[in-house]
């Protein structure tokens, strides 16, 4: 485009400059119509005149004439205007009026010689608004190449990576923002975001039965130790009911964990699962999912079933509790009754007698 652009002669340049000054005066006086007329004349002589284009577009946009503004910009670009801001503005105006191929204007943005990180940031923002997160990231990386220490660019990259649940990359970029200047507003915001990050875990982990079972193992261990102590501190002395209780605690615990864990938790009974629209795999799509939040909110296990499973699980855990500590429940009941009567359990006297015996026997 540079080679084909028409060159204006020097007297013309002088007239254009004079015209620009006159238009500026009109704008200062609030006479937008006069100013626009001058800009129009200038653009007829030199269609890619950057200042006239930019000012005309501003005035037109202020007047709500977005289509006209866009046409002015497009004509200017066709005539060889390589102002990156013009490209971004055209794309924005296209998006506003839902016309034309806005993406084409943004796609060439990184290749323009006049491009600045701010233009690329604006372009990336437009992509992000449209849910085109891959293109958004490409544009931000272009901005990063242009200005590797620009906090705004790094911050935006962190934000997009967080949005697509690439937590580790988001953390890296926030850290880079902080490394540039921790005391700047963006540095402080990055530190805040870094601490506030609630990382996303892939669906395969989210729904892993193994992950649920580890919590169940914790519950079962509590029951096992109680059962062993109830049997006088010996595993071999544990009654069959004790082992049954430990087994029930595993089943009940699993139901409870399933009922109370995240909606994506896979359960042992697939027939209970509510059919939902198949979600694209987070991993295979590299997480470029603009509507991830909605996807996460899908209840795989219906709420009613959750309540049923929770209640059944709780009942099983209570039964397991009774089965693992039958002796302890009994003696505790007796002890509490004795204490409520203001007395002390009889065995304390036996204990005391044994203490005295040991005391006397000790050298």
């Amino acid at each position: 485009m540079v080679e084909t652009r028409s060159k204006t002669s020097s007297p013309q340049q002088v007239r254009i400059k004079r015209g620009l000054r006159a238009a500026q005066r009109h704008l200062t006086d609030g006479n937008e119509v006069e100013a626009l007329a001058i800009y129009r004349k200038i653009l007829l002589v030199e269609a890619d005149q950057e200042e006239a284009t930019a000012q005309a577009v501003l005035v037109l946009a202020r007047q709500g004439r977005f289509d006209t503004a866009r046409k002015v910009l497009e004509r200017s670009i066709q005539a060889g205007n390589q102002d990156a801001g013009a490209y971004v503005s055209v794309a924005e105006l296209h998006l506003r009026s839902s016309t034309g191929d806005w993406g084409a204007f943004l796609a060439v943005l990184p290749m323009l010689p006049t491009v600045q990180p701010a233009h690329l940031l604006r372009g990336a923002w437009l992509y992000r608004q449209q849910g085109c997160l891959k293109e958004c990231l490409d544009m931000l990386h272009a901005a990063e190449r242009l200005a590797p220490t620009d906090q705004a660019v790094l911050m935006e990259l962190a934000g997009v990576y967080q949005e697509i649940h690439h937590d580790q990359r988001a953390i890296t970029y926030w850290q880079r923002v902080i490394d540039q200047d921790a005391r700047s507003p963006l540095g402080q915001a990055a530190a805040e975001d870094l601490l506030e990050l609630k990382p996303h875990i892939p669906r395969r982990i989210q729904s892993s039965s193994l992950f649920a079972l580890r919590e169940v193992a914790g519950v079962a261990l509590v029951f096992f130790l109680l059962a062993m102590l109830d049997a006088g501190g010996s595993v071999t002395a544990m009654a069959l009911t004790g082992w049954l209780g430990v087994g029930l605690s595993i089943l009940g615990g699993y139901l409870l964990v399933t009922a109370t864990s995240s909606p994506g938790q896979r359960i042992f009974a697939p027939f209970l699962v509510q059919p939902v629209a198949e979600l694209p795999s987070t991993d295979s799509r590299d997480a470029y999912l603009p509507d991830m939040t909605a996807a996460e909110q899908l209840a795989v296990l219906p709420g009613d079933w959750r309540i049923v499973l929770g209640v059944v699980g709780l009942v099983l855990v209570v039964i397991a509790g009774v089965l693992v500590v039958p002796h302890s429940l009994l003696v505790t009941h007796e002890t509490m009754q004795t204490l409520q009567q203001g007395d002390v359990p009889f065995y304390v006297q036996d204990w005391l007698a044994e203490v005295m015996e040991v005391w006397e026997a000790s050298p």
Binding site: P199, G218, D230, G233, H327, V331, Q349
Partner: protein, 256 residues
């Protein structure tokens, strides 16, 4: 000089108020105050039971006494849990004050807050109970073999708190803990930040030799070092209770 850990000032990721930790501290304090009132208010029992105070009787019934567990008396298996809420009496400037309770609760607050954040309050409570249970069980089984040890009540939350410390060391070894240096019981007016690895490593090192001596029957300590050590290693079980994403990040080597 002893560095008393008072706070882990790292920002929390999920919750701002550690409800479970604060509830545990509150329960421990309330139970101690209750047993203290018992000590003061019911002196008659002291005469009836051969010089035992009502508080001592409470410790025998609800503390972890191997004799009671073996004989299936008192509160049986529950004593392994109830004992973690009992603390020794004490005085400071003629006023009732338990250094045992104070020390334990300070450690619990310093290390429990962030661990609760990594687990969620319910799972943290479950972990705390399990760590306490493991510490008490180990202590009950070991002391159950000795003629004197089997009659002694084991009390205190230190086994469960050792579990919290062990878990903290596993998950957040690099975290810097604010400590107050103590000379005897007098705190110095300075704050020193020490990495958890150094602080807890040092604490662990202090427990090992006495615990081995206790296990070999060479020495008799009033402090239950075996329970501390068992509780500390029960900290490994934290992986059964941490949030899925915390576990996922730990497994993938990401920042916790």
């Amino acid at each position: 000089m002893y560095p008393l850990p008072v706070a882990d000032t790292t920002r929390l990721r999920y919750r701002t108020i550690p409800w479970a930790t604060l509830t545990l501290i509150m329960i421990n304090v309330v139970v101690w105050v209750y047993t203290q009132i018992q000590l003061e208010a019911v002196p008659d029992l002291a005469e009836v039971y051969g010089g035992l105070s009502a508080q001592q009787v409470t410790h025998i019934i609800f503390g972890a006494v191997p004799y009671a567990v073996q004989e299936q008396q008192g509160v049986g298996a529950f004593s392994a849990i109830t004992s973690t809420f009992l603390h020794a009496p004490g005085y400071l400037l003629f006023l009732p004050f338990s250094w045992h309770l104070f020390g334990n609760m300070v450690f619990l607050f310093a290390f429990g807050r962030r661990l609760e954040d990594a687990c969620g309050p319910v799972r943290f409570l479950l972990f705390y109970v399990l760590a306490g249970l493991i510490a008490s069980t180990a202590s009950l089984l070991i002391r159950g073999q000795e003629p004197i040890g089997r009659l002694m009540p084991g009390i205190g939350a230190s086994g469960a708190i050792a579990g919290v410390m062990g878990a903290f060391l596993i998950l957040f070894p690099g975290t810097r803990i604010t400590t107050v240096p103590l000379i005897g019981i007098i705190p110095l007016p300075v704050r020193i930040k020490l990495p958890a690895l150094v602080l807890l490593g040092w604490w662990l090192a202090q427990q090992i030799v006495p615990a081995i001596q206790t296990l070999r029957g060479d020495e008799f300590y009033t402090t239950d070092f075996v329970a501390h050590l068992a509780g500390f290693f029960a900290g490994l079980l934290i992986f059964l209770f941490v949030r899925k994403d915390v576990l996922y990040r730990y497994m993938t080597g990401a920042k916790l």
